[in-house]
């Protein structure tokens, strides 16, 4: 729903007097003040002239009609002075009133609607006081992971110092990210050399993911070929594809090669311009950067998604549940029941929850724990230890599985553990 946003935007546009949202009524105030000033200057000039002309030698030479006209002129000046002051007075007061009313209306009609709840009210489980260092550390990681390429990295020692001074990140934490940031910098400059070198080094390690690395390599070669095409140098492209890129990179990738690379090469060789090559190169660059970061994180065994980000995102999603629960609790006067478990279910997307398996015992409807682990029955249905104890009367009898007709004796049960791969 975005009705609130819509009405918000409409109400906000009323602050302005033009549709491009630049001029406000205060600008009108200024305009009118400026006009008034000019008017005053004019009147001053008139009056000055009038005074000069009032000198007896000039004035006495006038005939009666002219004298009358002359006096009339003076009256006009006075009249105009009073009138323009009144106008200005009226106008600025009107404009500022308008500005003030709009600001009040904005508060009443829009801001008040936002005040549905107070975010402090759901902060019931406070983070332990002594763990603020951990929060700082998590922020440090987040900054390193997502913003390292916004930092000055030319010189490694300077980069260390910068990260330490600004974010309090220790050298130990930042080392790997500075290397990563430097390679990303190079890539953005159009230099794939350092990234390729890193790939080759990683390939030598047994525990690295060879398949992923080789596909990164392929994308890097594609990128440099595209960059050469962009520079419009077919010879360079040819040289790159035949001499520099090792052939094994292209093995099993014929399809991608034909679809993405070959048309570009052909066009380049026959000297035809390639449409939108800039944006294609840009896209490929982004692809390379994100692939590289992914592989880099997995090779170094560092979190690809910063834990802080995942937790904040979960927090944001769960906010609506916390607020809803709070409202219900206030209405029904019930209290938070269990201390060590949230009183409601928060539905989070799979990519936030796939880290651990969750097994709810079908008999007790309770989540299994280390104290109450899951047990497999003879029929390979699974129930919790407590349920098993209850059904088997502490292992003294055989019992029927709650799901199927198979009988289970204690000896045929086995403690199991679910593991997410």
């Amino acid at each position: 729903m975005s009705e609130l946003l819509d009405s918000f935007e409409t109400e906000f546009s009323k602050f302005y007097t033009d549709s491009s949202l630049e001029e406000t009524n205060l600008h009108k105030c200024i305009e009118h003040t400026h006009e008034f000033k000019n008017q005053l200057k004019k009147l001053k000039a008139h009056l000055n002239k009038h005074i000069q002309e009032s000198e007896p030698e000039t004035y006495n030479n006038l005939d009666d009609k002219e004298k009358q006209k002359f006096r009339r002129k003076r009256e006009l000046i006075i009249e105009k002075l009073n009138k323009s002051q009144r106008q200005w007075d009226h106008s600025v007061k009107k404009q500022i009133k308008h500005v003030s009313q709009q600001s009040n209306r904005f508060n009443k009609t829009t801001l008040n609607k936002l005040k549905e709840f107070d975010i402090d009210s759901v902060y019931i489980n406070k983070l332990p006081k002594g763990t603020m260092n951990n929060v700082d550390e998590a922020i440090g990681y987040h900054v390193l992971r997502y913003s390292i390429d916004n930092m000055p990295l030319e010189n490694k020692d300077d980069a260390f110092k910068y990260l330490k001074d600004v974010y309090g990140i220790t050298n130990k934490e930042s080392t790997e990210f500075i290397d990563m940031g430097q390679i990303v910098h190079d890539l953005k400059k159009g230099d794939t050399e350092s990234c390729l070198k890193w790939c080759s080094q990683e390939m030598d390690s047994l525990s690295s993911n060879h398949a992923a690395l080789s596909s990164l390599k392929f994308e890097l070669y594609t990128l440099s070929a595209m960059q050469s095409v962009m520079r419009g140098n077919p010879v360079e492209v040819y040289h790159q594809m035949t001499q520099q890129a090792p052939l094994d990179c292209f093995k099993h990738r014929e399809k991608e090669l034909i679809r993405n690379v070959v048309p570009l090469l052909t066009k380049s060789l026959i000297g035809q311009p390639v449409e939108g090559i800039d944006s294609k190169v840009d896209e490929e660059l982004k692809k390379c950067v994100s692939l590289f970061i992914k592989e880099y994180c997995s090779a170094k065994h560092i979190f690809f998604n910063s834990p802080l980000f995942l937790i904040v995102l979960s927090g944001l999603i769960s906010f609506q549940f916390f607020i809803k629960y709070k409202t219900i609790r206030e209405l029904a006067h019930v209290d938070w029941t269990t201390k060590d478990e949230l009183p409601f279910d928060v539905k989070l997307p799979d990519f936030l929850t796939h880290f651990h398996p969750i097994f709810i015992c079908p008999v007790l409807k309770e989540e299994t724990t280390t104290e109450n682990p899951p047990y497999s029955l003879a029929c390979h249905h699974v129930i919790s230890k407590k349920a098993l104890d209850r059904l088997s009367k502490n292992g003294t009898i055989t019992f029927k599985c709650p799901y199927c007709p198979v009988n289970t004796s204690m000896s045929s049960t086995q403690k199991v553990r679910f593991v997410m791969l």
Partner: protein
């Protein structure tokens, strides 16, 4: 164009409500700016009106001399108006700057609306990586705003002597991530500055000038901040031995609170005597030195009633020899030195540095509620909620490490093939990426509640290995394949490896499970 929830995230309007402070702060600033402009305009127009009246009077004389006078008056008028124009220009500029903040924020949330509604046009939204990535990126910016807020509130304002500038890492970060328009860091920095001067420098001046600027609002909310600040000023003067100024401060700033804070005032006046007593006991009381609680405590001054009474009245404390109930004549005397009066600990409490942090908390509370800012750092609130909704019973499970050789996880080095194998298999486990279990968050998450689940969340094709571990069968085969391909281990066809205890089993030994 309805919007769609991809991650079960709330709708745009909920986001707005969640972030009301992003709009409330600029509104407060706007309102201040408008009120100031309005007041000045009224003042000036009134003045001008009078000015014109005088002018008209002058004109009534209708002679050249008076006209000359009028000319000078008009000149004055022009100068005034010119001044006014400049003032209005400045006000309009700041007015626009504040409106611009609201504009930028509305645009930011509009972006979310666009992402969410565009997603709806495409039927395959679940599998649309583009939309998903856009949403993720938007939430990364959102997280960065929270981080910027946290750093601006909590990190110290530092001084760079080279550029002669003050800086704060929160502001640096916001500028680096181009989010500086989305948060009122200037307001947060003001609070930070006053807070730092209280806590680190024990300097009351910034706080007192802020109190004076916002007296109206503070009185409206019947805040005790001013009293507490002045009381602290008085205490500090006493600590420094500056009795004259302390008494002036007491009379000028504390006495007006006699109705609301009578007990505090009584305590404050008692403190004057107490501190003089402590100073007299100093062996060589150099006037420049300051007193503090530690000082007083370390001096082991006689703190019992008898001795103090002796000190002040040069005689012994009257003894209650008889039963207090029958002895009514001595009643007045004993009440004079009731046990409460003899509690000198409470003076020590007044002198304690702890009071600075109490004062600071009081200030932050008033400051934040004035701007409609949340009292707790929003980042911490999100973390608390997020951790609890993520934390499973399987999290922080120490048994994992015990199963493997002790400490291999941390020290596993790719020295040999076994090391490589260990690293590779360990990182194929999903729980290695759980944010709640990460080393950084472990201590934070420990004491927070678990998430509540009503449904099992397992995996496809569960199979049970003879060692009791249950895996997704397809993923286990895939892992075996990858291990073989990387030449980490030689497995015969049909063999699989348990990545937890690294035992090799035959696929045929596994049993299909039926968990519900």
């Amino acid at each position: 164009m309805a919007e769609k929830s991809i991650f079960n995230e709330p709708d745009v309007d909920f986001h707005l409500k969640l972030n009301q402070q992003l709009f409330h702060i600029p509104y407060e600033l706007l309102s201040k700016c408008v009120k100031h402009t309005q007041a000045t305009i009224y003042k000036e127009t009134k003045f001008l009106h009078e000015h014109i009246s005088t002018l008209n009077e002058i004109f009534e004389h209708n002679d050249v001399e008076h006209d000359r006078l009028a000319l000078a008056k008009i000149n004055e008028l022009i100068r005034k108006i010119d001044h006014m124009e400049k003032f209005l220009n400045i006000q309009a500029k700041s007015h626009c700057e504040i409106l611009n903040r609201i504009k930028k924020r509305l645009e930011f949330f509009h972006e979310l609306k666009d992402i969410k509604s565009r997603n709806n046009e495409i039927p395959l939204n679940e599998n649309n990586p583009d939309m998903r990535n856009k949403l993720i990126r938007w939430y990364q910016s959102y997280t960065n705003i929270l981080i910027g807020d946290y750093l601006t509130r909590n990190n110290p304002i530092k001084y760079n002597s080279e550029t002669n500038e003050h800086w704060n890492s929160g502001v640096v970060f916001l500028k680096q991530t181009q989010l500086e328009d989305l948060i009122d860091y200037d307001v947060l920095l003001e609070a930070n500055k006053i807070s730092t001067s209280l806590l680190n420098d024990h300097d009351l001046l910034p706080l007192i000038s802020w109190v004076n600027e916002n007296k109206k609002t503070l009185t409206k909310t019947s805040s005790m901040l001013e009293f507490q600040a002045r009381l602290q000023e008085y205490i500090e003067l006493l600590k420094a031995g500056n009795y004259i100024d302390a008494i002036i401060c007491f009379q000028k700033y504390l006495l007006p609170f006699i109705e609301s804070n009578f007990t505090d005032l009584k305590l404050a006046s008692g403190l004057l005597i107490f501190i003089k007593y402590c100073n007299k006991q100093k062996p060589n009381s150099s006037s420049g030195s300051r007193l503090d609680t530690e000082d007083i405590k370390s001096k082991n001054l006689p703190m019992n009633k008898d001795q103090i009474f002796q000190h002040f009245f040069h005689k012994c404390l009257p003894r209650d020899t008889s039963d207090p109930e029958t002895n009514t004549t001595d009643y007045d005397k004993s009440s004079l030195i009731s046990s409460h009066n003899g509690d000198f600990e409470r003076y020590l409490k007044l002198l304690d540095d702890e009071r600075w942090s109490v004062l600071n908390n009081l200030f932050l509370k008033d400051f934040y509620s004035m701007y409609g800012i949340s009292q707790n750092d929003p980042l911490l609130i999100y973390l608390s909620l997020g951790i609890s909704s993520l934390k499973t019973r399987d999290c922080l499970n120490p048994s994992d490490d015990e199963e493997r050789n002790e400490g291999t996880e941390i020290t596993a080095t790719p020295e040999n093939d076994l090391g490589h194998l260990q690293i590779f298999t360990l990182h194929s486990l999903k729980r290695k990426n759980c944010p709640v279990c990460s080393e950084t968050f472990k201590p934070v998450t420990k004491s927070l509640p678990f998430a509540h689940h009503i449904q099992s969340q397992l995996f496809e094709n569960p199979i049970l290995l003879p060692n009791g571990n249950v895996y997704d069968s397809k993923k286990l085969t895939k892992l075996a394949k990858a291990l073989k391909k990387q030449n980490l281990i030689s497995l015969s066809p049909g063999q699989i490896m348990d990545p937890v205890d690294m035992k090799v089993f035959c696929e045929s030994d596994s049993i299909k499970m039926y968990p519900t």
